[in-house]
Assembly symmetry: C2
Homo-oligomer: 408 residues x 2
Amino acid sequence: MNKSLEELLKEYELYKNKGLSINIARGKPNKEQLDLSNGLFKVLDENTDFIDETGNDVRNYGELTGTKECKHLFSDIMSVNEQNIIVCGNSSLNIEFELISASMSHGVKGSTPWNKLEKVKWLCPVPGYDRHFAICEYFGIEMINIPMTIDGPNMDMVEEYIKDPLVKGIWCIPVYSNPTGITYSNEVVERFAKLKPAAKDFRIYWDLAYVVHHLYNGYNDEIINLLDEAKKYGNEDMIYMLASTSKITFAGAGVAALAASDNNIKEIADNMKYQIISYDKVNQLRHALYFKEHSLEEHMKKHAEIIRPKFESFLKALEEIEDIAWFTKPNGGYFISLFVKEGTAGKVIQRCKECGLTLTDTGCAYPYHKDPSDSHIRIAPTYLEVDEIEAAAKILTLSVRIEYLLNN
Amino acid sequence: MNKSLEELLKEYELYKNKGLSINIARGKPNKEQLDLSNGLFKVLDENTDFIDETGNDVRNYGELTGTKECKHLFSDIMSVNEQNIIVCGNSSLNIEFELISASMSHGVKGSTPWNKLEKVKWLCPVPGYDRHFAICEYFGIEMINIPMTIDGPNMDMVEEYIKDPLVKGIWCIPVYSNPTGITYSNEVVERFAKLKPAAKDFRIYWDLAYVVHHLYNGYNDEIINLLDEAKKYGNEDMIYMLASTSKITFAGAGVAALAASDNNIKEIADNMKYQIISYDKVNQLRHALYFKEHSLEEHMKKHAEIIRPKFESFLKALEEIEDIAWFTKPNGGYFISLFVKEGTAGKVIQRCKECGLTLTDTGCAYPYHKDPSDSHIRIAPTYLEVDEIEAAAKILTLSVRIEYLLNN
């Protein structure tokens, strides 16, 4: 019933000559999604009272840890008390970078600065987020692969590795993980809460990038609150939580925040005061006031309505290769992970490229860009126009099957 | 003709009982100044075409080094080519922090990372900007005082100290310097351009914080362009230029940029890509479009009209103590430096505090908060209401004279 290699190659050649240029490499919102938040431009005008709840003019210097109004917004998003939140600029990745940078140069809660240690190691659930791994690479931190299961990272391995005092942290995207789209089970979250690492300055980077980014009504992945759970075991200082509105409002002009224990908030603010006088509180107020008037939940449903059809079309098209490949069917987030025959992912990506379909480079979702089995492909369908999906999926599935046959 | 100590103390007691609360500690714009830029809120609306000159949607990810439009704005402010500019977030202080942080962890243009050296030393023209010195303190960089003259830093000392390969940089605010308000002479700029430091990774941090912040029409301090001058001597890689709109538009929600040589821009962007995906380009576009429609020069004249009377009143009041103190009379910027009798600055500041007048702590304008002669007081009159000036100046001058007499 399946087509022959010859037929497939003939079909593939047709696409090759179409001069297409389609990009499913990055998790970028499309124009229609960005337009959803244009109301932000109406929130503030010349008649605004720019004095925030704390009594400060948001246009001026001051309030290093952010405006109260915006802390309230992130309190809703992250389910953490306002006093445990610091609101920063437009990028949670940047907050993560700064936290690790400060740990390298100054240590964590009085520990030896990491740059004074012979080595620093880091646990990296794989496949994972390339920009997380890039931060480790920048600082020369040795990355250790932790395979992802459908419940989250392999916790047996995590619990084993943290016995090494040089292991100082782990990257986690617990809800609609990048790129698998899976959500950690509550059992996994519990095991994180209970960890007793050899390194007192071990930190869990709990990146809630997609925590409110559900695709289907009534099928929302939800997890228990790690900070609350960890408190039960005296472990609350072990956690840095991150979130942003990058995929809620504007990818490039949103607001990002971190949540942490009382001790950690104090330490982080103490370091921050050397870095900046204050972040952009006008944009913080803009976001806070907007979501006072607009339900965040309804807003996210509008996003879902735009991107759900793209996910559905892509997933439908992938069924074509279900006999030779495996892929995730996420309930939210920005990505689908496709696992093809071992040793062929790089070839598939190259083959797609020749038809004008850009995917992230092979290994992008792995430390050092090395996918040990050369089988993972990350699919980011959001930026595509609906009418591009068919061609993109067709090129991809054709390429997967061709490489499967060529390498059998 | 001068009043007796007894009379002065009696007068002082009157102020002490007035329950005043006046703050001239920080260089903050006042509400009236912030209101000048409220037009920024009208620049963008739902009908805006968010596609910038490069073809990117400013609301989305991308364009790590900033929008072309905003580079053009800073090209005007800094007199540097657009391709030698990177536009970042809302804080030039933050850019400076990041540059030093990267130098500490990764070195400069392939040099040994500074955190691997036995010691790093830094030249600090004094009095200077406390937040600059705080960055050095944070990174454990040893600071060396370089006295300021009315032409800029003592260049004989600078030329001598840079023979030490551990001396890696110098802070400069060449136009309307914080806090003296003086502008470097062109001869001083020339000598900077010609420097041949022993350390190949020595950098001049040329902070143009007040470059367009003139107080008087027709009395604009101007300097020759250091980057152009340095090029003549093959020294262009030695310079990092900084600027921001913090005191042009909103202190807390402006845009900041750096300018540097081709080599440096490449290196800095290479490091930046680990830190952030892109800065807030919406705010960049907002600023760029606003100053396409509004003359920056006229805009700055409006600032001058608001703050000039405050400087004038304060300077007029200071004449009262001209026989026992010395003070700068800047043509722009945000500060006046007052030098009182040696050993009395701290006491004057404390005495002012008791009347409800807050000044920055003694020594704030010196590395390690140590004013060697305990004589400098920084005055920041901009945030004051005009009707507060008289009381503020009176309390200050009274305190200066009382402490002069008490310590004679």
